[in-house]
């Protein structure tokens, strides 16, 4: 069974008189252990797709299955719970809690889950270590560079050991070198620990090491590339 199965997914936004079809029938499956990039120009629907995969928003049509369970029609509470138990998220920027240290941020999802202090700190430390951020455990987000902040955000997702980490343009606010390093780290986690990633980007230069690229254009899957190795 695929980890994700997305069928004929559509999303229509309406703001006043203007209607936008952000997604127009997307079919997609994600297998466990994959490292997938959703690539496409600005406005192609990448964020919309990732939001719907995370049940952060409701589709206008179509279905989303996670491990065979339909998740696109969950209520708000159930959706939050589903995310907490299964998903990790990394966003474009500013997605750490500013008053918490890197370690506390990395431990936050575990705390939401009610994991005890000792265990969540150990796991958060390990996750920071996996992202080469062990030396910054006690820093607040505003004492970290953008790239470091994103690594802490990945560590936060990683520490909770989710089924999949969804990252919406995690590199958009980083210079290309830092962005590239972040993707390489994610790739490393994918290979070494088997963490499943889906990330979106509009920067083609970040796609070298990706084994699966889904190209979105105008709300449709315009093409898929699969590489055997990088």
């Amino acid at each position: 069974m695929s980890l994700y199965r997305i069928e004929n997914l559509a999303k229509r936004y309406r703001s006043g008189e203007v209607e936008t079809l952000a997604l127009r029938g997307v079919d997609l499956t994600i297998e466990e252990g994959e490292f997938t990039a959703v690539a496409g120009p600005s406005g192609s629907g990448k964020s919309t797709l990732l939001h719907l995969m995370g049940a952060l928003d409701a589709p206008s049509a179509g279905e989303v299955y996670l491990n065979g369970t339909r998740i696109d029609k969950l209520g708000k509470r159930a959706a939050a719970r589903m995310r907490l138990e299964n998903l990790g998220f990394v966003f474009q920027a500013y997605n750490l809690i500013p008053v918490l240290t890197a370690l506390e941020n990395a431990a936050f999802v575990l705390e939401l889950r009610g994991v005890g202090r000792r265990e969540r700190e150990a796991r958060a430390r390990q996750a920071l270590d996996d992202l080469d951020m062990a030396g910054y455990a006690d820093r607040r987000p505003n004492q970290l560079s953008g790239g470091q902040q994103q690594r802490v955000a990945v560590a936060r997702a990683l520490a909770a050991e989710p089924k999949i980490i969804l990252a919406d343009e995690p590199t958009a606010n980083l210079d290309s070198e830092t962005g590239h390093a972040l993707i390489e780290l994610m790739r490393h986690l994918n290979r070494e620990h088997g963490v499943t990633f889906v990330f979106s980007t509009h920067d083609p230069r970040l796609l070298d090491s990706v084994d699966r690229i889904v190209r979105l254009e105008d709300g449709r899957v315009a093409g898929e590339e699969t590489r055997v190795s990088a």
Binding site: K76, L84, Y94, I97
Partner: protein
């Protein structure tokens, strides 16, 4: 409540420390103000309580239905000594005083005045309290003294009598000698001129010799060391015992003797509680403002939290916790400042300006602040309740945020 969440709430408050401290200060101010307000109100209540009880005692015993009795001698309690002993036995620790009022004519030379001479023996604490507000020239009534009389200065002036002069008390229709000759031993300054023109004090024995042997008009039970109304549990208990022991007599507590004033007294504290709720509402508006702004500034952050899997209820809890922490800290500060102040004022304080006014009514101008533990609890609960209520609106908005929209906000 996990400790980590409390830390998070604290740090969020600290993030806008000036705003938070302003609200915290407002809550502290209101808590402190409420404590002072309650305690000064309590002081006024106590002052009224003492004015009601200091002169007349906490309990009075009369013949049954004494208010209806017109005939003087039918209104007298017979076997006064024995009854007084019985009352003393039931009212341990109290000062028990038999009083015999003798209506009659006081004569000095050519002049005479109608008076109600009061015959009683004064236990030390009662005479001390009396003389504190009514300064005396000469000496005061001594128990058992058969000839000494103390006059109000106004009465002495009307009679043209001074210390050492002889006066004659004529009490027609009484059961004793009906008359007696007394020596003026002291003059008291009674500030109220009407009372001053009527005050004439004898020992109980002297009054009984003139009017009625072994009889009193009433027996008063005094607890002179009780200064605060809230400390007065003795009067009701003693009155109950006295009613059982002396079923033929009328036994009334000060509450029953002055029902109208007591009703005012009893309504004072509830009224004060309502007024202090208004203080808290005002402070609460500042807290609402602070918590609401804090919420709006963090909409993006709440979006992130919800995306990570925090439920709306969780977000609501976090905001409410911040608000309650803020108000709780304010309450703690308010108590830290207010309680010592109240303690200090509990030792007695005077209000400049009111001092003269009170003295002119023969009232003790010293106030004793007092606060009931339940009022301290009220203040704290009001503060915490303010915290919960102030968070309600911002927290419910935050809990209904859509994560995607929230994350688009400001970022």
């Amino acid at each position: 409540m996990p400790v980590a969440v409390i830390f998070l709430a604290w740090r969020n408050l600290w993030r806008q420390r000036r705003r938070s401290l302003t609200s915290l200060g407002a809550v502290a101010f209101v808590v402190c103000l409420s404590l002072l307000y309650y305690s000064i109100g309590g002081a006024a209540v106590n002052s009224m309580y003492r004015n009601l009880t200091e002169g007349a005692g906490q309990i009075q015993l009369h013949v049954a239905d004494y208010r209806e009795v017109r005939d003087v001698s039918a209104g007298l309690l017979r076997n006064a000594a024995a009854i007084t002993e019985e009352v003393r036995a039931q009212a341990a620790g109290a000062s028990v005083v038999g009083v015999l009022d003798v209506p009659g004519l006081l004569i000095h030379g050519e002049r005479s005045r109608a008076v109600a001479v009061s015959g009683r023996d004064w236990p030390a604490p009662l005479s001390a309290a009396y003389l504190r507000t009514n300064p005396i020239e000469g000496s005061f009534v001594r128990a058992g003294d058969p000839t000494g009389i103390v006059l109000g200065r106004g009465l002495a002036r009307a009679l043209g009598a001074g210390i050492g002069d002889e006066v004659v008390l004529y009490a027609p229709g009484s059961e004793g000698f009906g008359a007696g000759s007394f020596t003026v031993i002291g003059l008291v300054d009674v500030l109220d001129p009407v009372a001053a023109a009527r005050t004439a004090l004898l020992s109980l024995a002297a009054a009984q010799a003139v009017a009625a042997d072994d009889a009193v008009s009433r027996i008063e039970v005094h607890y002179p060391e009780i200064r605060r109304m809230q400390d007065d549990v003795a009067s009701t208990e003693t009155a109950t015992r006295l009613r059982a022991a002396l079923p033929a007599l009328s036994v009334e507590t000060w509450r029953e003797l002055s029902p109208t004033l007591v009703r005012i007294l009893d309504s004072l504290r509830p009224v004060m509680a309502i007024v202090s709720v208004i203080f808290f509402v005002l402070a609460g508006l500042l807290v609402v403002n602070s918590i609401y702004l804090g919420m709006v500034e963090r909409i993006h952050e709440f979006g992130v939290l919800m995306s990570l899997g925090a439920s709306g209820r969780r977000v609501m809890g976090l905001i409410t916790l911040e608000s309650v922490l803020l108000c709780g800290a304010g309450a703690a500060l308010g108590l830290a400042i207010g309680l010592p102040l109240v303690g200090l004022m509990g030792r007695g304080f005077t209000i400049p300006g009111l001092e003269q006014y009170y003295a002119s009514f023969n009232m003790d101008p010293v106030f004793y602040a007092s606060i009931h533990p339940s009022e301290v609890l009220f203040a704290v609960l009001f503060a915490l309740g303010t915290g919960v209520l102030a968070a309600l609106w911002p927290a419910s908005i935050a809990s209904r945020l859509e994560p995607v929209e929230a994350m688009r906000f400001t970022a």
